[in-house]
Amino acid sequence: MKNDIDIDITIPSHTRYLRMIGRIGEKVAEELDCPKDTREALSCQLAVVLTEGLVNAIKHASRADPDKEIHIRINVSDKNLVVRIYDNGVGFDLDSIPTPNFSPHGLEEKGRGIFILRSLMDTVKYKRSDGGNVLEMKKKLA
């Protein structure tokens, strides 16, 4: 076993923590035992995935209430990267979110976050968990 990392973070539901969480993602990826190119790509991707997932939890699940907490769990093994973001909000239907319109004439300001997560990770699920919700994202590493 070369890579075996499990990190739990709990933060208030506020966008001011985006930078910190993104940095943690970068640092986790930089420590992985894998080829340099893979490590650099994962560093960038993990920062984006954590940021988008956290913003999703803050804006759509916890309604930006800083009194609410968001729990983040990052697990890396030799085979998989798994990110789980837990919120206590009302939740949303992941399947109801459409793919963005890519045409210059149909451009929308919003609606790219979930598309980005689905593009960077192998699976993205959002489901009920212990009275709240969890956004679970997995990526195969080997």
Binding site: R19, A47, T51, V55, L107, E109, F115, I116
Partner: protein, 112 residues
Amino acid sequence: MDIRTEHSEGITVLYIKEDRLDANNSEELKIELRRLFDSGTKDLVIDLKEIHFIDSSGLGVLVSGYKNASTAHGTLKLTDLQSQVKSMFELTRLHRVFEIFTSVDDALQSYR
């Protein structure tokens, strides 16, 4: 948000002096872009040289500015995208929407 504004040959140039454009600070840029186009700005260049991280909220604010420019029959061009920013534009196909230049000088040259 730290933004420096310059005017050159009738073009407004915004230099974003931040290392991130994300859900925590992008609303300020959105308000500034709307204010500029509402107050008569037609052609705008945004220099992203110092931005090393952008998320979907940051991209959305640039799309909002692009739509403001179109409504005002003006233009919004971008310059100097760093590697993460470039990747995010490509992932979301926005590199096909925006005119993107390697430097502010090149963007200004495109108006001559």
